[in-house]
Symmetry: C2
């Protein structure tokens, strides 16, 4: 009996370790920056800000100068603030060696699209199912003056979420861009896009969430 | 000593179970449709086809009729074929209740962007790092005649990867769309986009991979 009890205890201990490994894997994947629970889908502003703050990458769309004005999507990393102090405005670190930044300097019309799916909170639900949220912020993609206070803030926000950016080659002349949001398209439940103004989105405060960031 | 040996064996067994759980979690995440190893980055066609076949969702971009011609990205599910028999052409299941399909019916110019990041093979690498691959297929987003053989093939391909699509509400009138590819933008290493023609991409055969699908 004593032996069985010991084996049982060992099993419990190892199961506990297993859970720790699973949690560790989740953070290693980089899919959840902070493990905040998702807000009520009826709270559109909270949900949108949660979705943006929890993601680390998305698809940034511009009008292609090279491809006859076609809409051109590009995978990019972003940050909307230092974790816990995010402001909802996505900042990017781009080089004009890449078509997206070059396109934006010719025509600022742009959108930025992110999905809840890679955060890992959609479970078995299909990425296109409306209960697996998606957001598209449409607006103007603007170069931020490198010497401005805003650029300093943006670099801190970007480097906090994407540490390797600090070491990216200087010869590529990475610059800070931001999306000036004009329209928000949010689907996070059945029944079509959630009504959400840019003002409601930007004025929402992260600390309204009942979690310590 | 006997007891220690038993505990040791139990530990081994549970560690093995732990590994199985980790593998199971990886498939539950839906991030890898088939666990094919990634091809050599120098083989642009193989890499591009691998990237498209392994993903289940991406961002589909159209020109927004409602937002002054802005590029509008939208998270969608897709399939380029029944797993193991994929052909590289992305098919979608869309409703005109959603702006993307409605936009495409007015202006077919479109692009489809997917990232290697959610497959889980980028490790610790940042999603914007060029060694974490990304592909943008630019072309025309076309409605496929619902009664055609192609639509039947596309529905099989879509339902194989996205089983819940079969049960989506009939009242939403989901229709099959496809991207007729005109240009390929692939980044999968340092040194800028990989030269890859549409012909090279489409003519590449999945069975060239030394894996049994």
């Amino acid at each position: 009996m004593k032996m069985k009890s010991l084996i049982f205890k060992a099993t419990l201990l190892i199961s506990y370790l297993m859970l720790m490994v699973l949690q560790l894997q989740s953070s290693v994947d980089g899919r959840a920056v902070l493990s905040l629970s998702k807000p009520d889908p009826n709270d559109a502003a909270a949900y949108a800000r949660w979705l943006v703050s929890q993601n680390s990458w998305g698809v940034l769309n511009t009008l292609s100068a090279d491809l006859g004005g076609a809409p051109f999507g590009n995978v990019v990393s972003f940050s909307d603030g230092i974790p816990g102090k995010s402001a909802g405005i996505p900042y990017f670190y781009l080089t004009t060696l890449d078509p997206t930044a070059a396109n934006a300097l010719k025509d600022q019309r742009s959108s930025f699209t992110i999905s809840e799916y890679p955060i890992g909170t959609c479970g078995e639900t299909d990425p296109e199912n409306p209960t697996c949220a998606k957001i598209t912020l449409t607006g103007k993609l603007k170069l931020v003056d490198a010497d401005s206070e805003e650029a300093g803030f943006a670099r801190s926000a970007l480097f906090a979420k994407h540490p390797e950016m600090k070491g990216w080659p200087e010869s590529h002349h990475f610059q800070v861009f931001k999306l000036e949001i004009k329209d928000i398209f949010l689907i996070n439940w059945f029944g079509g896009p959630k009504p959400l103004t840019v003002k409601q989105y930007l004025h929402w405060k992260m600390n309204k969430l009942a979690f310590s960031l």
